[in-house]
Amino acid sequence: MELSPILIVILTLTGIWGTIACRNLIKKVIGLGIVNSGVVMLFVYVGSRSGSHAPILIGQTAGLDASQIVDPLPQALMLTAIVVGVALTSLALVLAYGIHATYGTLDIREAERRAKEQLEPEEPAQ
């Protein structure tokens, strides 16, 4: 069992831990960023295990057989995954900024408590 997948998975797990355990809205988004990079690294690692030459057919790599060239597919997919990560991170940060501007706090539990008060100010006296 090679070491690198274990290390990358440990990095992803710290990202997942950060997203779940941290109470600060911004730290959750940072956790998501770590998870995203962990996944991207794992994809590129899996791609790189099947060959040694860069997937650009110029010069001496042009004549090489498919098994000697690194698998280009996971790398191409990860371009998309990274830009999705950028899009989600920017949206999450703007939402967190809006929540802070409205409720004055970045703590998820505090924000939830204030939102609950705002929505149901008075429990109906039944």
Partner: protein, 138 residues
Amino acid sequence: MRKTDILDVMSRKLAPFVMLFGFYLVANGHLSPGGGFQGGVVIASAVILLLLAQEAGSVTTSFPLTALSVAESAALFVFISVGIVGLLAAGAFLSVFLPLGSGTTVLDSGFIFVLNLVIGVKVGAGITLICFHILEAH
């Protein structure tokens, strides 16, 4: 972060080179490592460097916001129309219909080169807009 003159001068001198390198990445996307996404982000980083180092006002004169958003939607429009022309001309959406040259020079690969440029403009303008709005909202 106080915006001192050193920052102002340095960023003004550095940004063009970063942008040139970004454009190189976009243009040679199909021949050497790089491409629309990576080049676009490098171009965006140049503009953000200017944004951070100088007064926001001076940057929006050289990169007006409306121009950036128009560039972005126009880029997507071109991308989709290239796809639709492919659908009508060659019977399949996003099919490669421009003549493919021998592929040694930059302009030879036709279809891919055009798309790379479009993606470069789109990602560059998009990420600059995102950072600008977040900085400005602050």
